[in-house]
């Protein structure tokens, strides 16, 4: 006997008309569509987080171990051996405050750059706004980011650095780092689809970028006159900002502003490029 389909609760759906056209050139992001698919963004982010530490023995503990080990390693090499100055702060906490945003940023851009190729099954089989994919891989790093942030707050107590009002600037800086990561991540993810060379370029780029950013050294090592050049690298201003916020140092608003402006530009450029080439992804992935 055949099964008669049972009545189920009707699925919410708007009867919107979907027009697929041959279009060329730049176009604006379809924000409404992106909003309609917010559930998917949430689900994919959750999925990325779950999968991230799956089949590892230590599991989420890696979110704690990674930044702490890096901090110890860098403190020995750059703090003890190379004797890099740290603005009068203990080197471990100085470098950790820089590593916190940097590790999020570096992970976010390397994860999202390979995210589209990694989801080729999805991209070539189902329709959805492709921007969701790099967005979700940036988003999935936020948990690690938060865990490292809590560790920093604990380390601050350990090193006797009080929690100050400067911490209020942290949300703004976090947003700015996320934005920069989204911009760079979407740009790299789109480029990697067309040119797989980027898979090999990106690890070098991330390393180089770290040394071009005041992570293991303070911006004050640069002559005052040329510091603005340093801040054209958006991560430079943001990381200095993080240090000032957490370690109760004076803010360099000029540097932060330059970096913020550049990160907005990068974000817009990244997303616009992504949207321009988005419709080609399924052809070549």
């Amino acid at each position: 006997m055949s099964e008669t389909p049972k009545e189920v609760a009707p699925i919410e759906r708007d009867d919107h008309v979907h027009v697929i056209e041959a279009r060329k050139g730049f176009r604006s992001i379809n924000l409404k569509e992106l909003w309609d698919y917010r559930e998917l963004l949430f689900v994919l982010t959750q999925r990325d987080i779950k999968v991230r530490y799956k089949q590892t023995v230590l599991g989420v503990a890696w979110a704690v171990i990674q930044p702490l080990l890096t901090m110890i390693l860098f403190s020995v090499i750059f703090g003890k051996l190379a004797k890099i100055p740290s603005d009068g702060l203990p080197y471990p906490i100085f470098v950790y405050a820089g590593l916190l945003p940097w590790m999020f940023f570096a992970n976010a851009i390397s994860q999202s750059s390979s995210s589209l190729i990694g989801s080729s099954q999805l991209v070539s089989k189902v329709y959805f706004p492709r921007l969701i994919i790099p967005l979700s891989s940036v988003g999935s790093g936020l948990i690690d980011f938060a865990v490292s942030g809590v560790i920093l707050l604990i380390l601050m107590l350990w090193y006797g650095i009080g929690w100050s009002l400067h911490l209020l600037a942290v949300p703004l800086l976090v947003f700015a780092v996320i934005f920069t990561a989204l911009g760079v991540g979407t740009l790299l993810s789109a480029l990697t689809v067309s040119y797989r060379d980027f898979r090999y370029i990106i690890p070098f780029m991330v390393q180089f970028w770290m040394y071009a950013t005041p992570v293991v050294y303070p911006a004050s090592m640069f002559p005052e006159k040329w510091q603005w050049l340093l801040f054209i690298n958006p991560m430079a201003g943001l990381i200095e900002g993080f240090r000032s916020a957490f370690l109760n140092q004076p803010f360099d608003w000029q540097g932060i502003s330059i970096s913020l402006a550049v990160s907005v530009i990068i974000f817009l450029a990244g997303v616009m490029y992504f949207e321009k080439v988005e419709r080609r992804f399924a052809d070549i992935i």
């Binding site: 189920v8 919410e12 009867d15 041959a22 067309s194």
Partner: protein, 391 residues
Amino acid sequence: MTPLVTLSDVSKDYPRTTTRRDRLLGLLHTLTRSADRHVERVLDQISLVIEPGQSMAIIGENGAGKSTLLKLIAGVLHPTEGQIVCRGLVAAMLELGGGFHPEYSGIDNLKSAASLYGVSDEGIISLLPDIIQFSGLDEAELNQPVKTYSSGMQARLGFSLMTALKPDLLITDEVLSVGDESFQKKCITWIEDYLSSGGTLLMVSHSTYHIQKLCQSAMWLEQGKVLASGDAFVVCQAYHRQSLEQHGESLNSIDHRAIQLDQAIWDHQKCASLDDIQINETNVLRMSWPGQQRLEAGWRFRFRVYGTDGQLICCQNLNAEEQFRRAQDEPHVLRTHWSFSDLLPGHYTLDAVILDETDGLVSNLVDRSFRIPGRSRAFGSLRVAHQWRSE
């Protein structure tokens, strides 16, 4: 009625990027904003209208552009030229299990796949019992990561999700060929119910049986162009004829193997008509073909009758060699007498083919559905002589 899908002059080019030179040229074209002429046209000026409630098949050889067409309608690909307008919820099964993440459990994959179709978390939770019931997978299996699933299990999960979504337009690409037979039947039954409740279907299949069973109309694509479109049976026959001719040509040049039927007649009526078959009479299928087409030693005729659900009811073979020891140039006539008095009322399909000694298809003679009229209290396909006696 507003059409569900309208394609106007849709063309699709794929970039040719197989060599490094292609990639560099592509980069150059992007940088200089000049048109990339280094492309391959897969679909050429396709126009198509799908009305609600229609069921359409797309047929054609491999590489004809069938899957590309489906992907365009599903929104996965963007057309190079032209416009596509879609209304309502389109669910596309371009590949069963497409969109599943191997590390994720079956349940979690259902949730994320549902969100791909814009179903909210609460929505999917209310649908889950139905999906699970249809899939026939048990609790333990559903909590395993999908990478441990067999392809058949993935197919079950994928199709079950579609059944729960109840899309306005269902797109399937060769998905009925995956999964075991009982599940295939379940899917076909579901599609039939879906169609009778007003659903719309667009499918790619190589199975003439599935197409004629599920689709009213068909479109025949060849090298990105529409060769024919219209009634599913007519288009399928035309397609078969052509592919046989192509097949035959190459065979002819070697050993004159192809057999072309002059006619196939049921009791002096064209086989192509869907006439009711009288069960109490013996039905004669008379097939004839020109004399110059020779039957080789080792070839045989095979006749098969199928039930509504694709179940094979009987398969009869006839050794051609013995039957055709006659003058080579005389036209051949083969007459088979069939008594269908044991078949219960319902729809059936008869196909007749000529096979060579290695079971390779030489010729597709007849592929026809017929109906045994009447009513019956018995279920199944056959009437078996029986008696009831109480003691």
